[in-house]
């Protein structure tokens, strides 16, 4: 690593984050639960397999259209558990609060946490609160960890993709990152931009009920669709071909992306998933996804191929093609 200091880009979810994990964390902690680097760890026990995951939330601003830092903290962890086929059941909740933070706002956030935990069917069973001096944290940071039992007969992992498989996406890209950006200083956009922040466990249950042979599920958060697909392509040592015209992006998100020079394929989502399924199952799976409110706008966006292993190729709108690389450098910090 050429850098000797941590840069914001190390937290972007892109290439520098990967370097950090590979070069600093993994050499110290080697074990079979960690190594697949899936969204949650799998821990096998006599009675079955438990999924375990944790995530920290530092979004700025803490309230944004369509959600707040509390809702995000529950959804993020519930979704990480769901992506490896677990039924999320118990969550921890830790707060780091800056001195001077409004108790009224704290109440609002905690109430939003209760609401979305109920919706997702998870219990908050343990927690912790730390208060730090003014300036030592920005308002409020949240960490959640979660566990759930993995469904029997299901094996979801980023290493499972095979040539011939189909790639599905559950809906519009970029809503979350754009909703957060729209609130930032200097970008006061008007319009109906709303974060897609939502717990995906119910959608995943329905998908696995019909199609237990799904190979891999991922939620394209930081780094967006492009980065997540590259991760899977690398882990499974396969190539991928994506049809740009099939990838759903809202007009408002596309408009602002054009204006700011951002690419919607790299924008963060908090209520979307990518599914990779064996050939001939995609139409059936698509129907099930579209029946669910969180998968209404699902599309089959591409396929897994043998050629160009570890690469994702985009067939562009006008019939050309190009490489779709991981996020490098990071677009904007503190979006989740």
């Amino acid at each position: 690593m050429p850098e000797d200091k941590i840069l914001l880009a190390h937290g972007s979810g892109g290439k520098l984050s990967h370097d950090l994990i590979k070069q600093i964390f993994l050499p110290q902690f080697t074990n079979p639960s960690l190594e697949p680097l899936d969204d949650s760890a799998k821990i096998t026990h006599r009675q079955g397999t438990i999924a375990f995951t944790t995530d920290s939330y530092v979004v700025n601003p803490i309230f944004f259209p369509g959600g707040d830092i509390g809702k995000l903290a529950v959804c993020g962890t519930v979704n990480d558990l769901s992506m490896i086929g677990a039924t999320p059941s118990h969550l921890s909740l830790s707060l780091i609060v800056e001195e001077g933070f409004s108790i009224e706002l704290l109440k609002q956030i905690i109430s939003s946490i209760r609401e979305v935990a109920e919706q997702a069917g998870v219990n908050i069973v343990t927690g912790d609160t730390k208060v730090v001096e003014h300036g030592a944290a920005d308002q409020l940071f949240i960490n959640t960890a979660g566990i759930g039992w993995i469904r029997q007969g299901v094996n979801l992992s980023g290493i499972n993709a095979k040539p011939g498989d189909k790639i599905l996406l559950s809906g519009y890209l970029g809503d979350h990152e754009m909703a957060v950006l729209s609130q930032r200083e200097g970008f006061k956009f008007q319009g109906e931009l709303k974060s897609d922040c939502a717990p995906l466990n119910d959608l995943v249950e329905k998908m696995l009920d019909t199609c237990p042979s799904i190979r891999c599920l991922r939620d394209p958060t930081r780094g967006g669709l492009a980065t997540t697909l590259n991760e899977i392509a690398m882990m499974s040592n396969v190539g991928m071909v994506i049809e740009e015209e099939k990838v759903p992006v809202r007009e408002s998100v596309r408009g602002i992306s054009e204006l700011l020079g951002l690419d919607p394929l790299y924008l963060a989502n908090e209520g979307k998933l990518i599914a990779i399924c064996p050939p001939n199952e995609e139409e059936h799976l698509l129907d099930v996804m579209r029946e669910h409110p969180l998968g209404r706008d699902a599309e089959i966006i591409g396929r897994v191929v043998e050629e160009n292993p570890k690469r994702v190729i985009l067939h562009t709108l006008i019939g050309g093609h190009r490489i779709l690389d991981m996020l490098t450098g990071g677009q904007y910090p503190r979006i989740c």
Binding site: P2, E3, K5, L7, A9, K15, L16, D19, G186, E245, E251, R254, G255, E258, G261, N308, R311, I313, L314, T316, L317, I318, G319, G320, H321, R322, I323, D325, T328, G329
Partner: protein, 360 residues
């Protein structure tokens, strides 16, 4: 999306590609001058769908990339002054100077702020009357009117603490320099749409008249670019040379007289220093007498000696002489996380575009 989707239509694109195939009978090398064109060409995979005999080469049209090292070093030296706030467009942050970058200086605690419009610099100057606010005035003719307006306003509002590090560039003299060096064979130019919105068609006439080359002012959507290429090929096959406008929905022949007047009020033509191309007559601007007090180059300040990576090919890449693939540093040492030259920093830099989109 209205006014965008119309210019990304697959069927029309196929029609244009057919026309290009029918028209083109000989090997041709065309230069897209502007970095925004380079990005669009790669983003939509346009190189791959053109007939093999048509080669596109990227030109010096990324303002961040052509800013000379010395100006970056000057900005860094200024940022180290206790009473200075630097206001800059975000792209400049990561450009490596001789030994540092603005991003690294910010991590050391210097007051460097990213802004999105020249007028924001005025706001900062008003907010901090006890500080000297220095705006890094980087850009081509597209940006110059907004810089001129900021200067005019600062004068009007009697702001005495706002200064400009002027490193603006004018595109046509650089194209003349490229044609004069004859190092690259250029069969025609895809001219920048937005620069031309300001300057119009006349400043380019020398390309056709003196150098006998065709040029087409082109928009940035894929259909614009395909149509621009077809218009160029048509001129070449018909042995005509003219400056034509493809981007009619935005560009007028006379340019934008109001914007030109603003530039003219504040600046006059001057030689300009370009990374890679060196000193080019008339390719820059200097302050007119009554605005000279805002020129930061009047400050007495020590700047570190120039140092450039001996293997970095940004200079040759900017002239279209070499492709990033010929650079030994490309992808191995130099990548977006550790840029050695500016062409790897800017999202419109040729090296960055190759890094992101190029598939062997």
């Amino acid at each position: 999306m209205k006014f965008i989707d119309e210019f990304r239509d697959k069927e029309i694109a196929e029609g244009l590609i057919q026309r290009i195939r029918k028209t083109s009978t000989r090997p041709t090398q065309l230069m897209e001058v502007c970095g925004t064109h380079t990005v669009s060409i790669f983003r939509y995979g346009i190189r791959g769908i053109l007939p093999e005999q048509i080669k596109l080469i990227s030109g010096p049209g990324c303002p961040v990339c052509v800013t000379p090292n010395g100006d970056i070093d000057l900005a860094i030296a200024l940022s180290r002054q206790k009473d200075v706030i630097i206001a800059t467009f975000g792209d400049m942050m990561r450009v490596p100077g001789s030994t540092s970058s603005l991003q690294k200086e910010k991590a050391e605690g210097r007051d460097i702020r990213i802004i999105y419009s020249s007028l924001e610099a005025l706001k900062i100057a008003k907010e901090y009357p006890e500080k000297k606010v220095v705006f890094l005035a980087i850009g081509f003719e597209t940006t110059s009117p907004t810089i001129a307006v900021a200067i005019l306003r600062a004068k009007e509002e009697k702001l005495h603490n706002l200064f400009f590090l002027n490193s603006q560039k004018r595109v046509p003299p650089a194209l003349r320099a490229l044609l004069q060096t004859k190092q690259v064979k250029i069969g025609g130019f895809i001219l920048p749409g937005h620069v031309s919105t300001i300057i119009g068609i006349n400043p380019y006439q020398f390309i056709a008249k003196e150098f006998d080359r065709p040029a087409v002012i082109t928009g940035f959507e894929p259909l614009d670019i395909l149509q621009g290429i077809w218009m160029l090929l048509k001129q070449i096959e018909e042995n005509r040379t003219a400056i034509e406008i493809q981007y009619r929905r935005v560009v007028h022949e006379e340019g934008n007289p109001i914007a030109l007047k603003k530039i003219d009020e504040v600046f006059e033509k001057d030689e300009g220093r370009w990374r890679g191309l060196g000193l080019i007559p008339d390719s820059g601007y200097r302050f007119k007498e009554s605005y000279k007090s805002m020129d930061v180059r009047n400050f007495e300040i020590e700047v570190e000696p120039l140092k450039e990576h001996p293997e970095c090919l940004c200079g040759e890449v900017l002239q279209g002489i070499k492709s990033p693939l010929e650079c030994r540093l490309f992808k191995k040492v130099c990548h977006p996380e550790n840029p050695i030259g500016p062409c790897m920093v800017s999202i419109e830099g040729t090296c960055h575009t190759y890094y992101k989109f190029y598939q062997p």
